[in-house]
């Protein structure tokens, strides 16, 4: 992978996995808390780029720094056009905002935004996967509980209880877990 060893990135807010992803991409990363004095941090570190959550209120402070001097990182959405603009829009929609100083090469900027985007997308897909797993686990539990009720009530084996539940679902044109939920609700009353 191409390295951007000379490129200092300031990350606002603590996102350890993003720090790792950026370091893997060859960037040198320092991160500070949202409540820290950003004027002091930027003066001290002189980063070529600042990455911040798009929804962080500290963005207005970064806008001020950008307005004070061209030496400070400028908001990317406003700088680039064409393909790069599309990239920064995507980043913004994923909740990332980048400020970039004049000296940083276009390639490094693109790499920075791409690393952040793919990190955020991975995070999103992990989150979706987790939700899906949690949901299917919950459904599994419902179905098991409904089978137990049927086995007890009708004195049938597990396979028959499952067949019964399946036909309930098919007749009502609902999912297996909904059929289980209905059955348990009836049992509860």
């Amino acid at each position: 992978m191409k390295t951007h060893a000379g490129t200092d990135i300031l990350l606002i807010g603590s996102d350890e996995t993003l720090v790792l992803a950026l370091q893997d991409g060859g960037f040198r990363v320092t991160w500070v808390d949202e409540h820290e004095d950003l004027y002091a941090a930027v003066a001290r570190l002189q980063p070529q780029a600042v990455l911040v959550q798009a929804d962080s209120p500290t963005r207005d402070t970064l806008e001020h720094l950008a307005s004070l001097s061209r030496r400070y990182p400028q908001p990317t959405l406003l700088l680039h056009d064409g393909q790069d603009a599309e990239l920064t829009r995507r980043a913004l929609k994923l909740g990332i905002s980048a400020y970039v100083a004049d000296g940083m090469s276009a390639g490094a900027v693109r790499a920075l935004v791409e690393v952040s985007i793919s990190h955020r997308e991975q995070l999103e897909s992990l989150r979706r996967e987790l939700t899906r797993s949690q949901r299917s686990l919950a459904e599994r539990k419902l179905i098991d509980a409904a089978k137990c009720v049927l086995m007890e009530r009708q004195g049938v084996c597990e396979a028959d209880a499952f067949r019964h539940l399946k036909s309930l679902a098919m007749n009502a044109r609902i999912s297996l877990s909904d059929a289980a939920r209905n059955l348990l609700a009836q049992e509860g009353t």
Partner: protein, 335 residues
């Protein structure tokens, strides 16, 4: 017309016309379904306007002007055709500092002495406003100049988002700030701030927030309908008893106690009541974009923000402040 429109806003007292229009069903009266979307910063709100995430927004008047002046790049074509309010900001000092300085007019003189004494030290007096092109910044500078303090050399000026100013004050990152309500009254309530001036008493042009949108959307029927609905809401807010009703809506929307919002809406920020009568902000009778205010704001940007002179300020103001669209909206039939 049955448009669905997304409106951005920052959770501030002067966004009230948007909430009032929603509660009073005024948007519905003009055939609009409106979704209100809170934004965490002015930068985020500007970007949301630029990428079309919102159709229009409660916005600092300086943002469409800065966009037309080219500060946000060539594609940033923002404008406004409705002023939402005049005044509403105040200047608050760190309370222990204000108390240490001698009272009244003497207080301001001793603030000046302090500023000059600490100017070359490790920690000069430091003040915050809310955005580079906000009127707050220019009000703060004006107030400092009135004290014979040079805002560029005698003190340090920062931008700190209003939700973080109280903390910055407490941690002594700053000694005072100029922000909109409810943030002054909240700092007073927390016992860390004392209000020393309000935008109404500074004698500067009043235009504070506008309804900003992309220029391409100015003549859209939904935009014209928005202008009429919001004008009606502003008029309704003229009466004290209506504001009292609206206080509860505001408290609910901003998730704050009505008592902390009351000074900004019905009186003056706490602490200024002795010196100032009348209410802090005006919503009605000021809704047509005022070209003179635009010129003043643009001039302030030029003089205070170390920018190269704008080549054609009149054209910038004409593109940013669209009184013609305001008139068009008011002429358009309601049905």
């Amino acid at each position: 017309m049955t448009g669905t429109v997304t409106l951005g806003y920052l959770p501030l007292t002067d966004a009230l016309p948007l909430f009032a229009a929603q509660r009073l069903q005024l948007f519905a009266d003009y055939g609009l379904r409106v979704q209100l979307k809170a934004m965490p910063s002015w930068a985020r709100l500007r970007d949301a306007l630029l990428i079309g995430e919102v159709d229009a927004a409660h916005c600092l008047a300086g943002i469409p002007l800065a966009a037309q002046a080219g500060l946000y790049g060539p594609g940033a074509d923002l404008a406004c055709a409705l002023t939402l309010n005049h005044f509403g900001n105040a200047i608050t000092l760190y309370r222990p500092l204000a108390e240490r300085l001698s009272g009244g007019a003497g207080m301001l003189a001793s603030l000046r002495r302090k500023a000059l004494a600490e100017r070359d030290g490790p920690r000069p007096l430091t003040f915050a406003s809310v955005f580079p092109v906000s009127k707050h910044e220019f009000e703060l500078r004006h107030w400092l100049r009135n004290l014979d303090v040079d805002p560029d050399h005698d003190v340090k000026l920062l931008v700190i988002p209003p939700p973080l100013v109280a903390r910055a004050l407490q941690e002594r990152q700053i000694d005072g700030f100029c922000v909109g309500e409810p943030w002054n009254s909240l700092a007073v309530h927390q016992g860390i701030g004392q209000v020393v001036a309000s935008s109404r008493t500074l004698g500067l042009p009043g235009t504070e927030k506008v309804l900003a949108t992309r220029s391409g959307w100015l003549e859209h029927p939904d935009h014209l309908a928005l202008i009429r609905a919001l004008c009606e809401a502003c008029q309704w807010l003229d009466q004290q008893d209506h504001r009292l009703t609206a206080l509860d809506w505001l408290a609910e929307t901003l998730d704050l106690e009505p008592e902390h919002l009351r000074p900004g809406l019905l009186g003056s920020p706490a602490g200024l009541l002795e010196t100032e009568g009348g209410s802090l902000m005006t919503f009605s009778g000021i809704n047509c974009p005022d070209d003179w205010h635009a010129r003043w704001l643009l001039g302030q940007m030029e003089h205070n923000l170390s920018m190269p002179a704008f080549s054609d300020p009149e054209a910038i103001c004409r593109r940013a402040f669209r009184a013609d669209i305001h008139d068009l909206a008011m002429r358009t039939a309601t049905t």
